[in-house]
């Protein structure tokens, strides 16, 4: 929905804050809505807060689904 981005956590700071990186641009954001985030994790960022962690395995699986669409799609009835 609203503008939200997958960003990488590069540094944890006190008080639920963290520094994240997107393509070389850094920003300080809040992790108050998500538990158990560590550096190297990717989170979805919206209005200065991480909403959830991004699951890299699922991301790969989704990309593979796109690639497979052209190959094993059933024909319509």
């Amino acid at each position: 929905m609203c503008l939200a981005l997958p960003v990488r956590v590069v540094e944890l700071k006190g008080g639920d804050m963290a520094v994240v990186d997107l393509g070389g641009v850094r920003k300080e954001i809040s992790l108050a809505l998500v538990d158990g985030v560590t550096t190297g994790d990717y989170v979805i960022l919206h209005v200065g807060y991480a909403l959830t962690r991004l699951d890299p395995a699922e991301a790969e699986r989704t990309l593979a689904t796109f690639a497979a669409a052209g190959i094993d799609a059933p024909a319509s009835a």
Binding site: C2, L3, L5, L22, G23, G24, V25, R26, K27
Partner: protein
């Protein structure tokens, strides 16, 4: 030439005061110890209210620009050098050789003299670097709260050599569209400092005087049709202006437009489109298809055009739309900007 000022200006702790604009001794001191000293050329040293200069033969070009940028200092530049480059570029976009500048300052009471000196010295450096002296000027002071520290208006004059006819109305179907380098650097550098939107990047403003690049381009392709620098409103706005002026359509390719990775990322953060972000050291050129490769070569050979690229072509279109083939594979319209681009949440 000593004028008998009892004390030198205090650039460390002093501030602009109303008397500096009143026309009296305080103002004379500011003009002499700061402006004349920094810009340091024969015309200014005469201390007349105007400058008498020699102008070579050719069509005279005049351009003026007011600079109200905030913050005054940003990565890669400041309002001072911006005001020099901006007007030098406006003159250069006519294919003209810029000759002289005039500079008007509106100073806000309370502006630290240290900041003013920093700005003026930056202007002087930019002016010397461009080879375009500031030969006359004016200073006024407004009350605290009436300005953003300082507003600068620069006016430039130049001369167009014979055989050159550059105008926004000369684009024709079949022409090729080029840019001199990466888009969006300046606007993102400014945004990185704005209140509530700070983030650490290595992006710097691209502010630069482009007349050297223009001269190099005209030397190889004197028949360039259009030149314009995509400042406020970015590349998209400039292309729309040119399309409308010439009564043609333009089609560009998204993956042909050079944009630095970090500028892309910063724009993602803010929900901005790099096509609409300001540039201060880049130009758009439109030329006949046959001249395109040679023009591109000339641009890339110049330090300010290393990342030059062909980004699209001009087509027939009575609606004067600017369209873009997206990297994704679809086509969309690149419309005029609606007001300022503001960062969004949705």
């Amino acid at each position: 030439m000593k004028r008998g000022f009892t004390r030198a200006l205090d650039f460390r702790h002093g501030q602009v005061e109303m008397t500096h604009g009143s026309g009296g001794r305080a103002m004379a001191q500011l003009v002499e110890e700061l402006f004349v000293a920094s810009f340091d050329n024969e015309a200014l040293r005469r201390m007349d209210d105007q400058a008498q200069v020699e102008v070579p033969p050719g069509r005279l070009v005049i351009a003026t620009d007011s600079h109200v940028v905030s913050p005054l200092f940003f990565p890669g530049g400041d309002i001072g050098c911006l005001s020099v480059h901006g007007t030098v570029n406006d003159v250069a976009m006519a294919g003209a050789r810029p000759l002289y500048l005039a500079a008007g300052f509106i100073l806000e009471e309370g502006l630290p003299l240290a900041d003013l000196r920093r700005i003026v010295e930056s202007m002087a450096r930019a002016s010397r670097g461009a080879g375009v002296p500031v030969v006359t000027g004016d200073t006024k002071v407004v009350e605290r709260g009436s300005g953003d520290g300082v507003f600068i208006t620069t006016t430039g004059v130049g001369v167009v050599p014979p055989g050159v006819d550059v105008s926004g109305s000369r684009a024709r179907p079949g022409d090729v569209v080029l840019v001199s380098g990466t888009m969006g650097d300046h606007g993102v550098a400014i945004m990185s400092l704005r209140e509530n939107l700070s983030f650490g990047t290595t992006i710097e403003s691209d502010t630069a005087a482009l007349h050297g690049l223009v001269a190099a381009m005209l030397a190889v392709v004197p028949g360039i049709h259009c030149l314009r620098d995509p400042t406020r409103g970015g590349l998209a706005t400039t292309l729309n202006e040119l399309a409308r002026q010439s009564g043609v359509g333009i089609v560009i390719g998204e993956d042909r437009i050079p944009v630095r990775g970090e500028v892309n990322s910063a724009c993602e953060f803010l929900g901005l489109d790099p096509l609409y972000v300001a540039n201060e050291g880049k130009l758009v050129a439109i030329c006949a298809a046959d001249d395109a490769q040679r023009l591109l070569g000339a641009m890339r050979a110049h330090p300010l055009g290393r990342d030059a690229a062909i980004i699209g072509q001009v087509i027939e279109d009575e609606h004067a739309f600017v369209q873009m083939d997206t990297a994704f594979g679809g086509r969309r319209v690149v419309d005029w900007l609606t007001g300022d681009q503001l960062p969004r949440i949705c």
